[in-house]
């Protein structure tokens, strides 16, 4: 395939869904069938083109790629900077390097699966629901076209971000997704709940957008700083060894660390890391396919993708300023642990997955913080597969439960609450088996599942560093290990509560398997949730390593930055380049113990004797108030409300608006006005007494002239004349001042 064709394809990958967005919005929105067909066609086209490009890239020689990672590149002029005539342009372009190639392998495929699933999820073909802006259980979604339009835009944003060759285009995709998340989380914009404490979808949308936007703005600051230091926003130019050396000479490696942190803040928001994680659980208010696309394939992955993308900068920054690594790794590890503990005590089937997503993203961020570039990218890809599977699976569960709710006419029992489920394995076998596969992958079930290999690599990296004297990496290692134990535990809890035992409500009793639109994507995704991990089995892993492709993923994705890291090492900006770790039994054993141990514990507590109807969660008694604390998500929302939101509202409303604006500023103005008015009153009296009727006659004439506006202007004419007089006096003063040279004297006094 020629370079031109590949370049064209790379441009078209994000263009197809964007095009479908416009087509749906402009032309086909009144025809639901045509709308979703268009969205399908576009995303499937992107998927096919993505795989063509990806497989072309996979087929290339790794050593050659290491020399020239950006194998496909094409750009156009966009914004003139500096001097237009000299042709200094900010370019917008697309580029494919090994990292992009693996993203192109995973992302369009997953989004395509979600799109296919969505048609079934929104009950296409059933009678149309009559109420807009709320879920119509069992009926066709009336706003189906809008849904697919925004999903297409979302896909377009994500794919733009993946193929972007510069930070600004990446940011464009990033923000498009931010907006789409807002629109899609708030998709059921008219939905209200009886419980006033439960957040409505429209508020959840705003919360998501604003929380991530706080981070985005800091990131924008980082982009601006990036440009002012590097003089370009292009990744391959700026993040080459040459570019980084020049930048390090200009501002010092420590400032590059600050820049990395500014950009990393964007990740904290987008990938829902502490302290900006609060938006993600509430984002579950959106339709489930939206949750899948936000929390698996697209938005949250974007945050991690960005820091993987700028890794050379982070690496140099960490070297120059060790706090950078501490902050990134610390935030990641803490988030992984905290979110895992919260997930243990959630009852909403999607809520568990939401916190599990936050937790898993924490793994990736922690991996970056300890310099484990490939491990972060690997976990990013495998997580995208199995988390999409889990979300779609949970959607299928909810769908089944809603069917049950419709059957028994019960619309008060929460179909998402796992306490109301039970025994669904028999009712929904396909959903059950695929969900188990996804859950085991998430838990890191050994050897078979993708999650095992990628999580193991992160743990191995952390262990390697800690065994080489990095105490912080040791902390990260143990935190992540405990989090992994919790992960396996809550996953097994979820599977048990949902699928095992007997139905606990009539809803679960009458649940049934979802339609083929939904189950086929589940099956396809479950294949990858298993197989994706086999691309990254360490070479030295007994038996399997040499047998399966010799750790393809590590060498291939590593090729993206291998060359520039080793040059940076020579330049003294890095302590070491990209490393292939020696095999060690200890982290492997840890992985095995925590995964199997967690699954076993989960089964012991929840699966062995499945919950009966009306029984309490067996964890409540032993954990006591701690359970309350976890169930309420460590009270972060309440804390933020009290510390940030309420004071801001008070400050803007009372202090700034009432006291400053209306009181101080307008008050001063009114005082001046009143003073002049009073003076004007005296002048008027003076005028009436002193000046004779002749002037009155003139005034009458003037009033007659302005009759047209009189009804409005009653009483204002005097002010007019006052103003005119003021002007005349001022003019006279100026002329006099200039004539007598007063100004010159004045200005000799004032410098």
């Amino acid at each position: 395939m020629t370079e031109q064709t590949l370049q064209l394809l790379t441009w078209l990958i994000p263009a197809m869904p964007l095009l479908s967005f416009f087509l749906i919005m402009l032309f086909t929105k009144h025809n639901k069938t045509l709308s979703w067909l268009l969205a399908w066609a576009a995303i499937i086209a992107s998927w096919v083109m993505g795989w063509i490009v990806a497989f072309d890239m996979f087929g290339r020689d790794v050593d050659h790629l290491a020399e020239h990672p950006t194998a496909i590149h094409s750009a156009v002029d966009w914004l003139p900077f500096g001097d237009y005539a000299k042709g200094l342009w900010l370019q917008m372009g697309v580029a494919v390097d090994p990292l992009t190639a693996v993203m192109l392998f995973a992302i369009p495929f997953i989004i395509a699966m979600i799109m296919i699933y969505s048609v079934g999820y929104h009950n296409y073909g059933q009678p149309e629901g009559q109420v807009r802006g709320v879920p119509n259980h069992g009926q066709e979604e009336p706003l189906l076209s809008r849904f697919f339009a925004f999903m297409s835009l979302f896909a377009g944003g994500m794919l733009t971000l993946v193929v972007a060759d510069n930070l600004l285009l990446l940011f464009v995709g990033w923000e498009i997704m931010g907006f789409c998340s807002y629109a899609l989380i708030g998709f059921w914009y008219a939905r209200n709940y009886d419980d006033p404490k439960k957040i409505t979808p429209r508020k959840a949308g705003i919360k998501a957008f604003i929380t991530t936007r706080i981070a985005d703005v800091v990131m924008l600051l980082g982009i601006v700083y990036f440009y002012s230091v590097f003089g370009t926003l292009n990744f391959s130019e700026a993040l080459s060894a040459h570019g980084l050396e020049a930048a390090a000479t200009a501002v010092g490696p420590a400032m590059l660390g600050v820049m990395a942190l500014l950009l990393f803040t964007g990740t904290v928001g987008k990938s829902a890391q502490f302290p900006l994680h609060v938006w993600l659980p509430d984002a579950m208010e959106g339709p489930t396919p939206v949750s899948a696309v936000i929390h698996a394939a697209a938005m949250v992955s974007a945050g991690v993708y960005m820091i993987v993308r700028i890794f050379p900068l982070i690496a140099v920054g960490m070297e120059g300023n060790p706090n950078v690594g501490l902050i990134i790794g610390g935030i990641g590890a803490f988030t992984a642990f905290m979110a895992a503990t919260i997930a243990v005590a959630q009852n909403d089937v999607k809520g568990v997955l939401a916190y599990s997503t936050i937790s898993q993203l924490g793994y990736m961020v922690a991996a970056i913080g300890i310099g484990a570039y490939v491990a972060a990218a690997f976990h990013l890809i495998t997580h995208a597969f199995f988390k999409a599977l889990l979300f779609l699976g949970s959607g299928s569960i909810i769908h089944g439960m809603e069917h049950g709710a419709g059957h028994v006419h019960d619309h008060h029992t929460d179909p998402q609450d796992m306490r109301n489920m039970g025994g669904l394995a028999k009712k929904m076998p396909k959903t059950f088996w695929t969900f188990v596969i996804g859950g085991f992958a998430l838990s890191g079930f050994p050897i078979l599942t993708a999650g095992f290999w990628s999580k193991d690599e992160i743990l191995a990296d952390a262990f390697f560093q800690s065994s080489h004297g990095d105490a912080f990496a040791g902390v990260v290692f143990w935190t992540l290990a405990i989090a992994a134990l919790l992960t396996a535990f809550y996953t097994m809890r979820q599977i048990s509560l949902t699928f095992l035992g007997e139905p606990r409500t009539p809803l679960a009793e009458h649940a049934h398997e979802s339609n083929n639109y939904m189950t086929i994507p589940l099956i396809l995704l479950s294949i990858f949730a298993v197989a994706a991990g086999w691309a990254g089995i360490p070479e030295e892993f007994p038996i399997l390593g040499p047998m399966v492709n010799n750790n393809f993923f590590h060498h291939y994705v590593g090729a993206t930055i291998e060359h520039s890291l080793s040059e940076l090492e020579h330049a003294g900006l890095l302590a070491h380049g990209l490393e292939t770790l020696p095999f060690n039994w200890f982290p492997l054993a840890t992985s095995l113990v925590v995964a199997l141990g967690g699954l076993f514990l989960g089964w012991w507590v929840y699966g062995r004797k499945p919950l009966k109807s009306g029984e309490r969660d067996p964890l409540i008694a032993p954990l006591g108030p701690l359970h309350q604390f976890l169930q309420n998500k460590w009270y972060w929302d309440e804390l933020y409300q009290a510390v940030f939101i309420n004071p801001t509202i008070y400050f803007s409303e009372v202090i700034v608006y009432e006291i400053m604006d209306k009181g101080l500023i307008d008050g001063t103005l009114h005082l001046i006005a009143r003073t002049f008015y009073t003076i004007g009153g005296y002048v008027k009296t003076f005028e009436q007494r002193v000046i004779s009727d002749g002037v009155d006659w003139l005034k009458d004439q003037f009033l007659a002239m302005t009759k047209e506006f009189r009804q409005l202007q009653t009483g204002r004419i005097q002010e007019y004349t006052l103003v005119s007089m003021l002007i005349a006096v001022a003019l006279a003063v100026v002329v006099l001042a200039i004539n007598y040279g007063w100004f010159n004297q004045l200005f000799t006094i004032i410098p």
């Binding site: 919005m25 002029d77 966009w78 914004l79 003139p80 900077f81 500096g82 001097d83 237009y84 005539a85 342009w89 807009r132 802006g133 600004l168 464009v172 923000e175 907006f179 807002y182 708030g186 914009y189 008219a190 209200n192 409505t200 429209r202 508020k203 705003i206 957008f209 604003i210 936007r213 706080i214 703005v217 800091v218 924008l220 600051l221 601006v224 700083y225 440009y227 002012s228 801001t648 509202i649 400050f651 803007s652 700034v656 608006y657 400053m660 604006d661 500023i665 506006f709 409005l712 204002r716 103003v723 001022a730 003019l731 100026v734 200039i738 100004f743 004045l746 200005f747 004032i750 410098p751």
Partner: protein, 501 residues
């Protein structure tokens, strides 16, 4: 007669035709509207011809028309256009055309006077952007006050009298100081022509700090720069829809344009001297305007206060005193005119049907007016600075400019950092506004009768969106127009300062 004279005074022809056509009956009222709209369309087309003849490679004035007016005082009739004003002229003719179309059904009484004032307004605004003689500029500058005063005072809301007087007196008071400065310069140099005054700067260089302030206060009130902003919320809120569109779209830009056109080239040392102070006020304005927008209960007032915040960005860009900053500032002025103009129009559409602007009266409008709501969403996002739409391009270049500005002291990034907080707050108040009006259940029975926008309103909105998207996706052409003039301005400010040291 040159093309700039034609584009400036063409609306007067429309005024004349209206006076002739008026017979005071219903039928002639309709024809008055068409005459006014036709005139503004033709004026817009003429301004496009100006654009066609514009040579973007030239940094100086083009299409110059110069004649003596009062020779003994050195006053000329002097029009010219360059990269600093071409976008402003286009914005003026575009906004005038759109706001006349936007008044179609909103204005029900005294139709003749209304459209005459609208056309007179256009003459004044075009004149401000084209005049190259300070005296002539001042005449146009003051002239714009009069039609706007009446537009607010006659066709405005409940507190129109208070708002119009406040607007008039406040801006007039500021202008007087400028008049003093103009007279001083004109008399010391015996000419009022701007290019000659720039040449002969030495004659008043000693007084430049105070002259700078004379101009700056007039312009700062117009922009408005914090703390001179308090006329704006009242004027914007009380003005009829078209008046608000013109105020936000063009009138405020006269202030920022004034800084670029007069303050920077006439008083370069003073500009650098005061740049940090003005940038600080700009940043206060950005944050302050955003904070005050939050608690507003009136949609229009929220949009009005948001202007204070947005114009703070423009000022920050201009007083970065480098190319990226000034270009970003000028473009952001245009962007603000488009986005905020469109927002005012949207509020006007709602007001026309419901006769209220209080948030508490709305909610769930999306259900009743789906097309309208989608358009409103795009405009809201553009005002927020979402990438892909116009606002982002301006904000980004301004941030770049301020980050790399030596004029702002050794740590210019501090300004940039503070400015970005305004971006966050903008997202908060705009999304909150959108939620309270458009989302949620449609529970107010009065809103159920809302009709979606008609063809005329749709065409107006699409014309806004056309530019909003164009600038957002492919801004290079817009930068190209101003580039050589801005480059020349920046280098002349730079050399003047070097020479001075």
């Amino acid at each position: 007669m040159g093309i700039l004279t034609i584009v400036t005074f063409l609306p007067l022809l429309g005024v004349l035709v209206i006076l002739i056509a008026n017979r005071g009956d219903k039928e002639s009222e309709n024809s008055i509207k068409w005459i006014a709209l036709g005139t503004s369309i033709v004026t817009f087309i003429v301004s496009l011809i100006v654009l066609g003849n514009f040579d973007k490679g030239v940094s100086g004035l083009q299409m110059v028309e110069k004649a003596n007016w009062i020779p003994s005082w050195g006053i000329h009739y002097y029009l010219g256009i360059d990269g600093l004003s071409i976008l402003m002229l286009l914005l003026t003719t575009f906004i005038s055309m759109v706001s006349i179309a936007a008044s179609w059904t909103a204005i029900q009484h005294q139709i003749k006077q209304y459209y005459i004032f609208m056309l007179l307004m256009e003459v004044g605004m075009s004149g401000v952007f084209l005049a190259q003689d300070l005296f002539l500029f001042y005449v146009f500058w003051e002239f714009t006050l009069i039609p706007m005063y009446f537009l607010i005072g006659i066709w405005g809301g409940k507190e129109r009298i208070y708002a119009s007087i406040k607007f008039f007196l406040y801006t007039m008071a500021g202008s007087l100081l400028m008049l003093l400065a103009i007279l001083y310069m004109g008399i010391t140099n015996e000419t009022f022509a701007l290019p000659e005054l720039i040449e002969g700067r030495a004659a008043f260089a000693d007084a430049q700090n105070i002259l700078f302030l004379g101009f700056a206060i007039a312009f700062a009130i117009k922009v408005p720069v914090f703390p001179f902003h308090s006329w704006l919320p009242d004027a914007h809120t009380q003005a009829p829809t078209a008046g608000s569109i013109i105020l936000a779209g063009v009138l405020l830009k006269m202030g920022t344009y004034g800084f670029v056109r007069f303050n920077l080239p006439l008083f370069p040392e003073a500009s650098i001297h005061y740049a940090p102070a003005i940038a600080v006020l700009a940043i206060i304005g950005i944050i302050y305007g955003a904070l005050v927008s939050l608690p507003q209960k009136d949609v229009k007032k929220l949009v009005a206060y948001s202007s204070v915040s947005h114009l703070g960005f423009v000022m920050l860009g201009i007083f970065s005193l480098n190319e990226a900053g000034i270009q970003g500032g000028i473009l952001q002025g245009v962007n603000h005119g488009l986005s905020t103009g469109a927002l005012f129009f949207l509020v006007g559409v709602l007001y026309e049907q419901r006769h209220t602007r209080l948030f508490s009266e709305y909610g769930g409008v999306w259900k009743a007016m789906p097309v309208f709501s989608v358009l409103a969403l795009i405009v809201t996002l553009s005002s927020m600075g979402l990438p892909g739409l116009n606002g982002f391009v301006g904000e980004f270049t301004i941030l770049l400019g301020s980050m790399g500005s030596p004029a702002l002291g050794p740590h210019p990034w501090i300004y940039t950092a503070f400015a970005t907080t305004g971006v966050i707050l903008a997202a908060v108040y705009l999304l909150w506004m959108f939620q309270r009006v458009f989302m949620g259940p449609l529970d107010n029975p009065k809103n159920k009768a809302l009709k979606d926008i008609n063809t005329r309103e749709l065409v107006i909105m699409l014309s806004f969106l056309f530019f909003i998207i164009w600038i957002g996706v492919a801004p290079s052409g817009f930068f190209g127009l101003m580039d050589s003039s801005v480059a020349h301005l920046v280098s002349s400010v730079g050399t003047a300062v070097v020479a001075g040291h």
